[in-house]
Subunit: 154 residues, 2 copies
DNA sequence: ACAAACTATTTGACTTGTCAAATTGTTTCG
DNA sequence: CGAAACAATTTGACAAGTCAAATAGTTTGT
């Protein structure tokens, strides 16, 4: 296949990041709108809350690693979520630097209220995608994610 | 297949947005680092510059639509890129509201300097992905993108 | 012609995201 | 032990992203 072309149309592979970035904008807008219409939660707050589904009593660093999120931002967000009564922090008894976080009852309740809508959304997003396609999709996602760690382009 | 489970492991479909968001963080970091190491361009500036590959003499609205980017942000960014000498604006003679934008020589030069690295990166990102997988991947991306426009979850 | 409805862009106020340096606590090892 | 190296978190400064309202120019219908 000819990857050089004069038509102005580029090979698909040169559009990966463009397509992903654009999709991400749309997904953020959709998620934000849905959360706003049914709760007072922001998308970041929701994501932080959801990360406890994967990591119980997680610390800041664990959440940051899981979400690939900046620790500075996370630190401030957690602080505000504690103030809002969504999170509770408990200092690790063996290492006073780390605080284990848990969702409060209030957060649990908000989470169960929103969950049906958020799950419906997830379903909707892939409703025209077959199981086989989805499997390939996640496989590719994983490969791109691994490759996104690479830095030395010379 | 049983989608209800008590193991704490969720069906893949419920992770689409999480996975995409996390990947996006990594890709942004990679792109930003690469641009910074070889030029003074930010990722947004690069993306705006690249959009002229698809849309010649584009207006703000056209770029915003293409990139799913906020018009306010774009307006300010374009202004600063004009000040930096990267873009030139020309008022449409039939509609004075619209300004057609073009890359300056300076921007063209920066673009050609960076392009080999950025293309190498795109290739690297998908180097372990087969053509067939990539095709499926873009197909799924398109379906999710279409579904991301939907708003009425009741 | 001209007001109402539209459209393109800009501006303001605010949230989220990034990067680096500072702070606080822990471990390692001479 | 005690200083240097490490690690977890916080803070500061600033860039990017969002949302709504304002401004400026154009089209439509009468």
């Amino acid at each position: 296949m000819n990857t050089q072309n004069t038509s102005g149309i580029r090979p698909l592979s040169s559009m990966v990041t463009f397509r992903l970035a654009r999709l991400q904008s749309s997904l953020n807008a959709q998620g934000t709108a849905l959360l706003k219409s049914k709760s007072g939660l922001s998308l970041v707050e929701w994501r932080i809350m959801q990360s406890f589904r994967m990591l119980e009593n997680a610390s800041l660093t664990e959440i940051a690693d899981l979400m690939q999120m900046d620790k500075g931002q996370l630190s401030r967000k957690i602080k505000s979520m504690i103030e809002k009564g969504l999170l509770r922090a408990e200092t690790d008894k063996d290492d006073q630097r780390v605080h284990h976080l848990t969702l409060t009852k209030k957060a649990e309740k908000l989470r169960s209220q929103m969950l049906p809508f958020m799950e419906a959304r997830q379903k909707h997003l892939v409703e025209d995608v077959s199981d086989e396609e989805l499997k390939v999709f996640f496989g590719v996602l994983q490969k791109i994610e691994a490759a996104s760690k690479f830095r030395d382009f010379e």
